[in-house]
Each structure stands twice: as structure tokens, then as C-alpha cells.
Subunit: 346 residues, 2 copies
């Protein structure tokens, strides 16, 4: 089935209209009319070939919300007319230990990612959510709560789960002191989610201009990381830091903010390796961790949590013809906090 | 009370006989006749002023085993004639949150370390175990099992707890795959302890000459880290890595050996910060942790565990007059695996 999309023809070219051929709905497949598709910073990295693994033409987009238009005979999770979501993955081997554990993102055979990847046959290219329709195997669809504004739900499928998962892994709970480093697409979700979990959230930012927003999003404190005094005043105060920064920064300073046994979870990817002094970790038995999106079960749990706490992303909805402009604005951090494409305009 | 000791007069001078004035035994104090005192690599760093915090004259030594010769009126843990141990600390504030939690090594007021430190009055210098006698407040003494060879017990007070603690923090258990990086004083204890906990232990070493010893100590596999193929063959295999290496090395390669959610615990201190790529941690939700000795309660637990499993350090007992020679040999890694001073020769 042919469907309209926007694609990047090559790393040095802008996105333009394109046509994708989606597979016919199989017994376990779900077909969606896409309603909203979020723009993630990783879309830009891959569309521009910055991670060295780009396949063109590329239809980016892994923050997809839509309505079910067709289901295969064996599908039980969703029915026609339901709202559904698709995140960063569309398949995995589903038999290895990580898949069995619900960590399809760590599939030992390699997950099938939603775009710039292949299906598990390792031949059929995958095309993402900047598109009118998509067909995905049932297991990799999510049920979308009907009580939330759908344009704000789309970014939950990547930015939401990427910040929810480390908060859960490190047992964020009522009364914990959580610091969120950087207020962008990921950071603003981390603040909302951690606050909803009952944590006292401190926003750690390079820019005083973010303070009012941080407070509105749920942070109870704000600290400027451009001031050395911040790292003295707050030394040893945090149970958990969620580091969303993808620019170079000094991890050792941040590690000093952790209590004994505290953890700093990286979800941003700076362009170069970062220096870590062994003493920064040894002193206080501190932990530096990474976290990569989340499995399907945990993503559903996150969506249900967001429904319960009425959490969505703060978004600016754009028509498809503004995607290239949006990319430019994102590179300048000029968005609060996520662009979402209105798929009706594709 | 005057007692004989060996001290470093200055960073550029060898150790020589010295006399220490120990305090009179107070109501909560325990006085020991020292029997054996282990030599830790950190003794050399501090005696030679390599960590920038050295106070001279310095009597090193924080792996102390002795026999109780006097106890204060309120002491209940030990009585005259008992075996006792003293590790890296001799006091802490005992009221802050970490102390309350049993982590006296992270005392918010700063622990009183066994040497090159001060008592909690921040005036009285502390002198370590290269000495005939020592007086320590009861809380910071350990009960030493009578069933173990005492010269091999001394290194448990630092090398033992330093490796036991991360194994416990990361829940090492039967069937886990644990890699120990580096076979020295710390590494040989990590192998023995992890094996006794039921883990399958792999020794990761730069030298094939360590293989026979690794096997004897309890490792079931051996891999050469000088061969790139090791990092392919063993990729994603380990639940836990205990990294005892204090030389520069590529952490990213080792992180790739971890399973999803696996942890690498640093207990060695390389001279310079190490580079960590965010993707090394993000891919697989991996953790890089540090671990610093252990609290008194956990140190006692470790000694009791060692008694149960008949674990002691492999040592070479030397007379005090060989301390300087021992330092030179340790710098060349020429010891299997710990020097211990026979305190009768001091």
C-alpha cells in the first residue's frame, strides 16, 4: 500500500515529499493512520548522516501516534478505531534473553528500529513516522490513553520513555532528590516525570532563562551550572541525576553532587568521550550509568503512568512543510520543547 | 605509651625506625599488640607524596591484625587475649547519615583514617600499623576469626573489604559471570571472594603468566586483554566486572563485555581521568561504578565470610627491615600478592 511521507534523499539535502510502500497487513499486524509524529534530535543526527550509519532515502520519525485502521486476524491488543502508538522499534527477535526480559532494545540479534534500519529479515528497509500510514506488528504497538492531548503524547514514545526508564531503574520515589541536567526535549520530560513520582526536582541548567519554565514543569529548585558555587552548595545532595546534555560537559563536577551510592544516568550523547576520574566514582561508591529508550512493556507502563498523572510533552505542532525549518530551530535549541508534525499535512 | 614503629620522614626518603606515642586506653578504647601489618599500594603512594596530601613523619599501614592487651571499662566487643583487626579507619563522627548507615568511610565530617590523617579532633595525627602497638576506639576494631592464618588475614582489612564490598553492592551470586580485571593484591582477593560467592570467575589480564595462578585462586576462565579478539569473544558476557587496574586502560572496551544492566566497579585508581563514551553506557543500560573500602559492619561481615570459606590473602611475610625493598618490588608488581610485615621484627 502506497502512502505519502517526507524523506531525506541524502545527508546533505533537505527533507522533501516521498512515497513509501507499506506492507499489506499480516495476521499479527496493525495498520495506523498517523495523526502526529514527533521530531527527535536523533532524527536530525541520522538525516544528516552524523552517526555514520545512515541509509537513504530516509523517512525519520519514531514518536508516532495514530488511529488503527486495520488489524490482522490474530491481533488482540488493538481493534479498528483504537488509538495506538509506535516508538523507536518495530520488531526484534523476541526469543533472546533481553527480549524475553522485556528489553527488546537490547535484542541480541539487533532490534528492527522504526527507521534507518531494516525489518528482522535484514533486507526490508524501515521507514518512520513522517508519513500518513504505518504497518507494525502488534507486539511493537502501544495502547494510547484517550484522556491525553494526542499531539503531546507523540513525544512520549521516545523522549518520555527515555527519561522514564532511568527514573525507574534507579528507583526514583517520593522524597528523593533528583537533579535534571539540561532543559530540552528530554529534560522537560524528566522534570515532569520525576516530579510526578514524588521527587524533589532541581533543574541544573546553563541558562537562567530556563528557571520559570523549570518551575512550571514541576522543579522545586533551580541551579546555574555556569557558577562554580553550585557544585559546592549542592555537593552530595542528590540521589539521582538525569543528564540530558549532548554537549561536552564535566561529568566529574556533576558526580560530586551525588550522595553516597547515588547515580547519574546519561541519556544525552555528547559528540566525544567524556573524562571520568576514578576518584569521582570511588569516593561515595557513586555510579555513572547510561540508559537507552525502554522496552515495550515499560513504554506501555510509562504511557499509563502519564495518563494517570495527566502528563504530556510541551509541543509546537507544525505542518510537514516546516520540517526543515524545525530542524534548523532545533539545532539552535529554539523549541519548547518538542516539534510535532500534524500528519494531516503530509 | 611509647611504641616502636617504622616511618617515612619525608616523601623522598626511605622508611626508618621511629617511635610513636600512643594514647592511654580510654573507657571505649582497645589496645593491641600488633602481630602482622599488610603493605597496601596506597601506603607507597602516600609515603612518597604521590597523592598530594601527605603528612610527615608518616607511619603507614592499615591492614592490622593483633592481640588485645588492654580494654577500656566500657568495651564489650573484645577482651584481653582476643584477636582483633584494624582497617583503614580509626574513627568517624558516628552521627551523620552515612555513619548511621554503616558507611563510616563516607562520614560527612571526614573519617579519621588509620594513618596520614588526624583523629576527629582534627589535630592529633594518626599513625598506622607499621608499629608494635596501636590504640583504637572499640567501634573501629574488628573481631578476627581464630580459624585463619593471621598473616593472611591482615590484607583482608583493606584488599579484602575493597573487593568484597563491590561484589555485595552488585549482588554477586551463584551462577553470575564475574570478570576480574588485573591480578594483583586486589585482583587476587576479588577472584577468591567472587568464586566463594558462587560466581563463574574470568581473569582478564595482560599477562599469560598469570593464568595458572588465576586458576589456582578460583577463576574458571582466563582471557588476555592484550588481544582484541577477547573483546569480541566475550562481548556482552559479564554480569559484573571488578576493575583493579591502576594503570591507564580503555574502559569502553571493558564496558562492552557487560550484559545489559551489567556493572563495572572500579577499585583501582589510574593516575589520570579515563575517557568514557556515552554510548558505551547507554547501549545496554550499563553502569560504571566506584567502590571505596567498606564500613565497619561490612568489614566484619567480610571477615566472617572469609572464616566460613577459609579465605585469606596470599602473602609474603617480611621483617620490617625489608619494607623499603618490598616497596621497590611492589612498584614492579613483584609480589604474589601482598607483603605482610611480621610486627615482631619492628
Amino acid at each position: 500500500m502506497k502512502t505519502r511521507a517526507w524523506a531525506t534523499p541524502a545527508a546533505d539535502q533537505p527533507l522533501a515529499p516521498f512515497e513509501v510502500d507499506r506492507r499489506e497487513v499480516g495476521p499479527l499486524d496493525v495498520q495506523l493512520d498517523i495523526l502526529f509524529s514527533g521530531i527527535c534530535h536523533s532524527d536530525i543526527h541520522q538525516a544528516r548522516g552524523e552517526w555514520g550509519n545512515s541509509k537513504f532515502p530516509m523517512v525519520p520519525g519514531h514518536e508516532i501516534v495514530g488511529r488503527v485502521t486495520k488489524v490482522g486476524a490474530q491481533v488482540t491488543k488493538l481493534k479498528v478505531g483504537d488509538l495506538a502508538g509506535v516508538g523507536c522499534m518495530v520488531d526484534s527477535c523476541r526469543t533472546c534473553a533481553p527480549c524475553d526480559h522485556g528489553d527488546e532494545q537490547f535484542c541480541q540479534k539487533g532490534s528492527a528500529f522504526t527507521y534507518n534500519s531494516t525489518e528482522m529479515d535484514r533486507k526490508t528497509p524501515t521507514y518512520g513516522g513522517y508519513s500518513k500510514q504505518v504497518v507494525v506488528t502488534e507486539h511493537f504497538t502501544l495502547k494510547v490513553p484517550t484522556s491525553l492531548a494526542l499531539q503531546g503524547v507523540a513525544p512520549l514514545l521516545c523522549a518520555g520513555i527515555t527519561t522514564y526508564s532511568p527514573l525507574r531503574q534507579w528507583n526514583c520515589k517520593k522524597g528523593d532528590r533528583v537533579g535534571v541536567v539540561g532543559l530540552g526535549g528530554l529534560g522537560h520530560m524528566a522534570v515532569k516525570l520525576a516530579a510526578a513520582m514524588g521527587a524533589e526536582v532541581t533543574m541544573l541548567s546553563t541558562s537562567r532563562s530556563k528557571e520559570a519554565d523549570a518551575t512550571r514543569l514541576g522543579a522545586t529548585s533551580f541551579a546555574l551550572t555556569t557558577e562554580r558555587s553550585t557544585f559546592k552548595t549542592l555537593a552530595g545532595q542528590f540521589d539521582l541525576l538525569i543528564d540530558t546534555v549532548s554537549a561536552p560537559h564535566d561529568l566529574n563536577s556533576y558526580l560530586g553532587l551525588l550522595r553516597p551510592y547515588g547515580a547519574m544516568a546519561l541519556v544525552g550523547v555528547p559528540p566525544k568521550p567524556l573524562e571520568v576520574a576514578a576518584f569521582s566514582l570511588i569516593n561515595g561508591n557513586r555510579r555513572l550509568a547510561g540508559s537507552s529508550i525502554g522496552g515495550i512493556r515499560e513504554t506501555q507502563e510509562m504511557l499509563d503512568f502519564c495518563a494517570k498523572h495527566q502528563i504530556v510533552a510541551d509541543v509546537e505542532v507544525i505542518p510537514a512543510e516546516k520540517i526543515n525549518v524545525a530542524y534548523e530551530r532545533m539545532v539552535k535549541n529554539d523549541v519548547r520543547y518538542r516539534f510535532v508534525i500534524d500528519a494531516a499535512t503530509i
